[in-house]
C-alpha cells in the first residue's frame, strides 16, 4: 500500500555560511494492506520529518513515495488520514464546525442532515461531553482537543492512517477504546496504520513491523 524509497532530506541554517543541522538519510520501508507499523525513535531522530514528507508538508531532497503502486500525489492524500501530535488547528471553531468542514472537504455529496448525524455519532464515540460540542476548541483541554482529532480520524474513510503520538493526552478509557478500534480496523484488512511513538504500551497492538529510526537512518 505504501512504499517509501530512499527518502532523503537535509536541513541547513544560515544564508551565506550554511551549517548542516540534520539529515534524513535514505529512509525506505514498505507497508502492506492491513499492516500496522511502528516508527520508533528518540526525540529528533527523524520520525516526524518522515511523516511530514509523506503528508506533503515538506519536500524531500531525494527519494520517492508510492501509494497503491502509483507515485503519491496531492489528491491521493484524500485516502490518508493524519493525526498530528501537538497540532490543534482552527482553535476558533467549535468541535461541530471543525468536523463539519472536515466532512465538506472529504465527502463529495452529503446532505446537511447526514452531516449532523455523522458528527453526532463521531463525537459520541470520542466521548466528548455534549456541552462541549459548541464551545470553541481554544477553550477545551488538550485531551478534549485530541478527542476531536480522533473523531475526525474515526469519520475518515481513509485507507492509510498515519498517527503521530496518537495516545498522548488521552484518558485511560478512551485510550483503550482507540486501541480496540485500531485492532478492529486491522481485522477488516482494509486499512493500514503507521504509528509514530515513544511509548512501549502501544506495542500491545502487536505491530507487523517495527521501524527503528536513529539520526535520520532506519536501523
Amino acid at each position: 500500500m505504501l512504499l517509501v524509497k530512499n527518502l532523503t532530506k537535509h536541513f541547513q541554517i544560515g544564508f551565506i555560511r550554511k551549517k548542516h543541522v540534520f539529515s534524513l538519510d535514505g529512509v525506505s520501508f514498505f507497508l502492506k494492506k492491513g499492516e500496522l507499523a511502528h516508527l520508533v525513535g528518540a526525540n529528533g531522530s527523524g520520525k516526524s520529518t518522515t511523516l511530514k514528507i509523506i503528508m506533503g508538508l515538506m519536500k524531500q531532497d531525494a527519494g520517492e513515495i508510492f501509494f497503491e503502486e502509483k507515485l503519491l500525489t496531492e489528491k491521493d492524500r484524500k485516502n490518508i488520514a493524519y493525526l498530528p501530535e501537538k497540532i490543534y488547528p482552527f482553535l476558533s471553531l467549535t468541535p461541530e464546525e471543525y468536523l463539519s468542514f472536515f466532512l465538506s472537504y472529504s465527502r463529495a455529496f452529503l446532505g446537511k442532515k447526514n452531516f449532523a448525524k455523522e458528527i453526532k455519532y463521531s463525537l459520541l464515540w470520542a466521548e466528548l461531553q455534549k456541552e462541549r460540542w459548541q464551545i470553541p476548541l481554544k477553550f477545551l483541554s488538550k485531551g478534549s482537543r485530541k478527542k476531536v482529532l480522533w473523531a475526525e480520524v474515526f469519520l475518515s474513510q481513509a485507507k492509510l492512517f498515519i498517527l503521530d503520538e496518537p495516545f498522548c493526552d488521552l484518558d485511560e478509557s478512551f485510550r483503550l477504546k482507540t486501541l480496540s478500534w485500531i485492532e478492529q480496523k486491522r481485522k477488516e484488512k482494509e486499512s493500514s496504520f503507521l504509528l509514530c511513538t515513544h511509548y512501549r504500551e502501544e506495542f500491545f497492538l502487536n505491530p507487523s513491523q517495527v521501524l527503528f529510526i536513529e539520526n535520520g537512518r532506519l536501523k
Binding site: 503528508m55 496531492e74 489528491k75 493524519y82 497540532i87 488547528p89 471553531l93 468542514f101
Partner: protein, 255 residues
C-alpha cells in the same frame, strides 16, 4: 473549485471570529469623530470636506484589513497547524492559498459595503445629497484594497508575520510615492539605471492611479473608461502577485 469555496467559507468564519469586523466599527467611530472635528474647526463646512474625511477613513479601513489580516491568515495557518491539517486532507496548496485570498476579499467587500451605507446614511441625516457618481471613488479604493490584499498574501507566502507586514507596508509606500519620485527625477542628471528603475516602478507599481479624486466625475463616458482601465490594472497586479505567491507557497516547508 469545491475545495476553494470550502476553504473560503472556513477562513471567512475564522476571520469573523478573529474580530476582523471590529475594525469596521473602529473606523466608523474614527470617521464620525474626524468629521465632527472638521465641522467644528472649518469656517465653511462643505459636503466636499465631509466626503473627503469619509473617503480618507475608507482608504485606511481597507488598508488595515488587507495588511493585518492578509498577513495573519497564512502565518497563523503555518504556526497553528491548520495548513498541515488541511493539506493532509488532499487539498492542494494552491487551493488553500486562493481560498484564503477570496475569504479576505469577501470580508473586504462586506466591510466596504456596510461602510458606504453607513456613510451615506450619515450624510443624508446631515442634509447632504446622495453620493451618486462620487461612489466611483469608493470603487477605485476598493480595487486598491484587493491589490494590497494580494501584496500581503505574496509576502506572507514565504515570510513570517512581522517581516511580511513590513514588506507589505514598504511596497505600499513605494507604490504611493513612485510616480512622484519619477517626476522629481525628470530633468535631473541621474544615471540611466535609476531612471529606468524609477520608470518601471512609476508605470507598473503606481498605486496613486487608484486615487482618482481629481478627475471630472460628471463625464459619464470618461468614468466608464477609467473604471474599466482601473479594473484591468488591478486584476493584472493581483494576478501577478497571486501567481508569485502560489509559486513560493508551494515550495515552503511546513515545520
Amino acid at each position: 473549485m469545491k475545495n476553494i469555496s470550502v476553504v473560503a467559507r472556513e477562513i471567512f468564519l475564522l476571520l469573523k471570529r478573529d474580530g476582523v469586523f471590529f475594525v469596521f466599527f473602529l473606523f466608523c467611530f474614527f470617521s464620525l469623530f474626524f468629521s465632527n472635528l472638521a465641522v467644528s474647526s472649518s469656517l465653511n463646512f462643505s459636503k466636499k470636506l465631509f466626503f473627503d474625511v469619509g473617503l480618507f477613513c475608507y482608504h485606511f479601513l481597507g488598508l488595515f484589513v488587507a495588511f493585518f489580516w492578509g498577513n495573519k491568515i497564512l502565518s497563523d495557518s503555518f504556526a497553528g497547524g491548520s495548513l498541515a491539517c488541511r493539506l493532509s486532507l488532499g487539498i492542494c496548496r494552491r487551493e488553500f492559498f486562493l481560498g484564503a485570498f477570496f475569504a479576505l476579499c469577501m470580508v473586504q467587500l462586506l466591510v466596504g459595503f456596510f461602510y458606504i451605507i453607513l456613510w451615506q446614511g450619515v450624510m443624508h441625516f446631515l442634509g447632504f445629497s446622495w453620493l451618486g457618481k462620487a461612489l466611483f471613488l469608493f470603487y477605485s479604493q476598493t480595487l486598491l484594497w484587493f491589490v494590497l490584499a494580494a501584496v500581503s498574501f505574496f509576502w506572507s507566502s514565504f515570510l513570517s508575520f512581522n517581516f511580511s507586514l513590513l514588506g507589505s507596508l514598504l511596497v505600499w509606500f513605494l507604490g504611493m510615492t513612485s510616480k512622484a519620485s519619477f517626476e522629481a527625477l525628470q530633468g535631473e542628471d541621474v544615471n540611466i539605471v535609476s531612471r529606468g528603475l524609477s520608470f518601471f516602478l512609476s508605470s507598473f507599481w503606481d498605486l496613486s492611479v487608484f486615487n482618482i479624486q481629481y478627475f471630472d466625475l460628471s463625464d459619464h463616458k470618461l468614468l466608464i473608461s477609467i473604471g474599466a482601465r482601473l479594473f484591468l490594472q488591478a486584476a493584472s497586479i493581483v494576478f501577478v502577485f497571486l501567481s508569485l505567491g502560489v509559486f513560493l507557497f508551494q515550495r515552503r516547508d511546513i515545520g
